[in-house]
Amino acid sequence: MSGLSLKLAVQTWLRTRGGVHPPECKDTAAMPIRTIPAPARLYLPLKQHIGAEAKPDVVPLQLVKKGQVLARGQGSVSAHVHAPCSGHIADIVEYPAPHPSGLPMPVLVIENDGRDDADEMPVAKHPHLLAPEDIAARVQAAGIVGLGGATFPAAVKMNLGQAKAVDMLIINGCECEPYLTCDDRLMQERAAGIADGARIMAQALNIVGAPDVIIAIENNKPEAIAAMREATAGWRHVDVVPVPTQYPMGAEKQLVRYLTGREVPAGKLLADVGVLVQNVGTAYAVQQALRTGMPLVSRIVTVAGGAVARPGNYEVPIGMRVSDVLAHCGLVCEPARVVMGGPMMGHALGHPDAPVVKGTSGILALTAGEVRAEAERPCIRCAACVDACPMGLLPVTMASLLKSDKLDEALGIGLSDCISCAACSYACPSNIPLVHYFNYGKGEVVAKREAKRKDEEIKRLIEEHRVRMAAIEREKAEAAAKRQAAMEKQKAEKAAA
């Protein structure tokens, strides 16, 4: 073993925990990105990000241009929605969400006029020389969210980077989910754009001196590594670092730990250890917005799975229905399951008409053989889940506590630290849907907290009401007493007279 690979092995051993190695299934990595033209109608959800729903800025029948703001982000954590094509607003309706439930959510429907009249944002001549606030403002105006799947508004993250002492920007090109190759292709084909975007985002960190920029790519993507190295050749403070191929290497906390040795304390943010992580797709979207003025209206989506006739990477307009995308790529058989995202953390679609959103990295039409949905069997406590957990949790114990409704005890041994990566479920020889229990448990915690908040709010209102009523009563009593006193005084005076 050479010195370098020994060093890598030691670093991997010291700085990673758990993890699994699912079959990669990344055949689409060799397939160039092709563009799918915008279909006749697009369906744009008002909420495609973490945070508050955007508010429509248009009315039905209004003519819109490509790139025009259709809905504005509300509150501190939110994002705008832009038109991916020109045409007119056909309707604002409730439409199936890209979510397992398929429940409806408010969606803007655009009728495409096919003319592609564009309305770009103003562009600065030297974006990387702009003030940090200015860069963040432009990123916000472009509606950019984390394109790795978490869809956290990018500008909010950048502002956070300014507020905290962040000295390192990590561009995440790990793409550790099986099947997905959209980031890989983007790096292979548009490395210069990603590098430029990374430099612009580093500028926005607002720190004295140049921050370190690390572009992290799993070592199963040699072409992407070579392309990014070429694109960043000669840049100081930029490092392209191959990382071991291991799921979930691309999880932010795990990646930061591996690259820097810094461990994000429980309940804290990456910025608290001085690091900001952005996905390669996000870096590219930032570059596009600041260089060409085109906001986030399309993204690269990996379309794959055994049921797809023409799998590959496609640049898809946001708002295109999954059923339209699959019709474009063709199906060889009826898929057993259609998944949005990767097979480890993506969700099965409740409705095939759900639209592609900003966070859609993949559309997988999986056959029954690929899904391997087998019946759940008893737990034999083999601890494969314990070995797989990248957070050092005991999935076996948490699951048995949750099964017997001991939510508080499960929280006591780390339920809230679970990152839902599903490595435990993958490793389980008894096909126990462990991560499903944990997502349920975490949902219960949120629901209970919300219920408690409401409860306290009601108590507060009742108490206020009581105080108010008591004050009124007191005032009344005082007024009555005064009146009484006055009357008695009058009586006394009369009597005296």
């Binding site: 079959p23 429980a266 804290k268 083999c382 630290d417």
Partner: protein
Amino acid sequence: MPATTAPHTSGPRSVGFIMAMVMLALVPGTLLGIAQFGWPALNLFVLTIATALAAEAASLIVAGKPVRVALMDGSAVLTAWLLALSLPPWAPWWIGVVGAMFAIAIGKHLFGGLGQNVFNPAMLARTVLLISFPVEMTAWIAPQPMFSAHAPGFSEGLAITFGQLHLDAVSSASLLGHVKTTLGIDGHAPLPAIIAGSFHPLASFMGTTAGSLGETSALLFIAGGLFLIYLRIISWHIPAAMLATVGLLAWATHLANPLHFSPPLFHLLNGGLMLGAFFIATDPVTSPVSNNGKLVFGAGCGVLVFIIRQWGGYPEGVAFAVLLMNAATPLIDHYIRPRIFGRTLGGEPLPVAGKEGP
């Protein structure tokens, strides 16, 4: 309808695969044992496994659980296999039958079936047999390799298994038993002399000594155990901790008083220690789930094995040691947990670097 939540793929391992690999790892040691002790050993082995399968099916039917899937997962066969390896090879048929029934019906299904039992079912059954039927359970014989001149033939073998034939002539104590009983006699020879006269490390290592099927070849059970560690079906923690503890205790006590304490190699190579360390203490259902917990569990087994062998009433203590530590497993799992990412060992969030913690 199966759950359609993530992940939308699953790993290649199944419970059946794990059980099959453990059995595969047991094959060499078992074959050698059967070859050594001939037809009666094979009869007992087959009977024990057949009874376990029948008991499993009956228990599943009584519990109203699906029968075929559970029978196919191999867990009942493995339990019976381990039990058979721990019995005297020429024991009568009913020892295997009663043991297998007890292991499956009471040791496993009474607790709720696969994955629910607190105690290792095979060791529970062995212990019950040893206490209930001490004569049959301590009737060891010297190896009579199959097809050798003095070995019983097929029909003789059946006669031995079904209690028609007693062969006192070939009975022989296991080495651990020999040392224990000899030391107990007044005016006995000093320990080094007893050991020098009876303990041949190579024989114990290769497995040409008296004992149960699983107490013979240390070599083949080590090989099987390493195979399972290589496949990551068991982790190294329990066997390493258990063997190291026994070895260290034996080494230290032997160093202090060689006239009273046997040397470490004697402890490591004799009895069921290797089978116990690699195949029995590592039973996932009854051992802790965390790696540090496994180290504690293994060390506890090692200490108990040594104490029982040295000062207990029985010459061998692997089964007792494992059962006692099985009882401690929930406690170990409660107190010994891995450090959670971003937290201290105590579960508090790590302090933010450069700032005072809360």
